[in-house]
């Protein structure tokens, strides 16, 4: 279960006239196993910020984020890295990888990190890349040369190759065609049935209606 308790986030920008930007105040909600909560609200209401706070990429100003019994605000960098490796997945809109590394190696990395045998990891990667319609002749090329939609699917492959019990999705279907969008929605559905607790941002309303079990609108909180 993911629990958000009285969560506040503001940014203090020292080099820009000491501006203080209040993103949101007192956010409360929880996401149970097998639920997909869609974050909604206009641009700038802090949807991506909230995902980054949960993932530990942003510093919590006040309040708590609990993932199962782990309190993110009180966790050391090492604890957060362990949590990410084993339990907490994150699919962003952007692919950030070492140049020159082949796609297949990018995709198997999360499995190697948890000590999975390379042979098994490769097999799983092949399955998911096939499912996401990444042509086989691209697997040994660096994804940095791919189109936006292909890069996003590589990101998704990385995020879904391991069954994370907690998943954060930042617009996973943004630049995909209808066919691939459906594949991704199926993957989300499967993770949901597997009991993952999922929080996502879906700008595409039909996609959102298809997978979300509930919506949390950040403007009304």
């Amino acid at each position: 279960m993911i629990q958000i308790k009285n969560l506040n986030k503001s940014f203090q920008l020292y080099n820009q006239n000491d501006t203080n930007i209040n993103v949101f105040k007192n956010i409360n909600f929880r996401v149970n196993k097998g639920e997909v909560v869609a974050l909604t609200g206009n641009s700038g209401t802090g949807k991506s910020t909230l995902l980054k706070l949960i993932y530990g990429s942003y510093v919590i100003s006040k309040g708590d984020v609990l993932i199962s019994d782990i309190n993110i605000r009180k966790s050391s960098p090492r604890d957060i890295l362990t949590l990410r490796k084993n339990k907490l997945g994150y699919v962003s809109q952007f692919l950030r990888v070492v140049p020159r590394v082949p796609t297949i190696d990018v995709v198997i990395e999360p499995l190697l990190e948890i000590g999975c045998e390379k042979k098994i990891a490769l097999k799983k990667a092949q399955e998911i890349l096939e499912r996401l319609n990444i042509p086989k002749n691209l697997w040994n090329l660096s994804p940095l040369t791919f189109s936006g939609g292909e890069q996003q699917r590589v990101n998704i492959a990385r995020g879904f190759i391991h069954n994370y019990p907690y998943l954060l999705l930042d617009e996973p279907t943004a630049s995909l065609d209808q066919n691939n969008k459906n594949v991704v929605l199926d993957l989300i559905e499967k993770a949901k049935l597997n009991g993952s607790a999922i929080i996502g941002i879906f700008h595409d309303e039909t996609a959102r209606n298809k997978v979300a079990t509930r919506e949390v609108n950040l403007e009304n909180l």
């Binding site: 020292y14 080099n15 990429s57 960098p77 140049p99």
Partner: protein, 258 residues
């Protein structure tokens, strides 16, 4: 002190006369971890790195290594020869300029083999075979084994320096701007190589760099230095994406989007 730690430096200070090299710096590293040290030039990054490697004598503080035999050694208390031996077996140091870390007048194979001989290898055939193996690992054509590094490109020299350092299977490798003088495509090659070696061999690393894109791809945690002090430390992406200190914010906002 925790038992599973690999390396720990506590309250390290180094002064150059009246000037501060680094002040009161503490850090610790577990096996397999990569720590990045960032800051602008003159912030004390290289001083700190040289202090904790044992190249520079510290004015204050202690440095502990949990060595291969699980004995905890204090660098400031052990003899010079013992320290040199540790530097060549448990530790390794990759210089920004490969010329500082290589012997330019002996062959590529000799550069790798020399390190093996220093820790007791004697069989020439075996040494040559291991050297050839390592050239392959760092993607240098094995046919170049008898050529001197002075005939290599900068990127090849850097990869040779990495091979020379890793051949003795150190557990902790210190790197001072390892991709600093290289053009971007060669940098990528070396980053990829380092990342794989760190994971395959379970080596821990401390990387000093002013290149935030490099730390983002390599480091688990980072520390930010300014004027010899650590002003911020934490999870790599957290410090880069949501820096809390005025100076870290400036540092992060001053680079082109990476």
């Amino acid at each position: 002190m925790k038992q599973n730690f690999l390396f720990q430096a506590s309250n390290i200070s180094k002064y150059y006369g009246q000037n501060i090299g680094c002040k009161n710096v503490s850090l610790d590293i577990n096996p397999g971890e990569v720590l990045g040290i960032v800051g602008e030039s003159g912030s004390g990054k290289s001083t700190l790195l040289n202090c904790i490697y044992g190249n520079l004598e510290v004015d204050e503080g202690d440095i502990f290594l949990n060595d291969k035999s699980k004995t905890i050694l204090n660098f400031t208390k052990i003899s010079e020869p013992k320290l040199r031996l540790i530097q060549r077996s448990d530790l390794a140091f990759v210089h920004q300029n490969p010329r500082d870390g290589l012997r330019m007048n002996i062959s590529a194979g000799g550069n790798i083999g020399e390190r093996l001989m220093a820790i007791g290898h004697r069989n020439y055939g075996e040494i040559r075979e291991i050297a050839a193996n390592w050239l392959e690992k760092v993607e240098i054509d094995v046919s170049r084994i008898d050529d001197k590094p002075s005939t290599f490109s900068g990127g090849m020299q850097q990869r040779l320096q990495i091979a020379r350092n890793l051949v003795t299977r150190p557990r902790l490798i210190f790197m001072d701007e390892p991709t600093g003088g290289l053009d971007v495509s060669v940098q990528a090659k070396i980053l990829d190589l380092l990342r794989n070696l760190v994971r395959e061999l379970g080596i821990a690393a401390v990387i000093v760099t002013h290149d935030l894109a490099v730390v983002r791809l390599l480091a688990d945690r980072i520390i930010v230095m300014q004027n010899g002090n650590v002003i911020e430390a934490g999870l790599c992406d957290q410090v880069l994406d949501d820096p809390q200190h005025k100076y870290s914010q400036l540092l992060v906002s001053s680079v082109l989007q990476v």
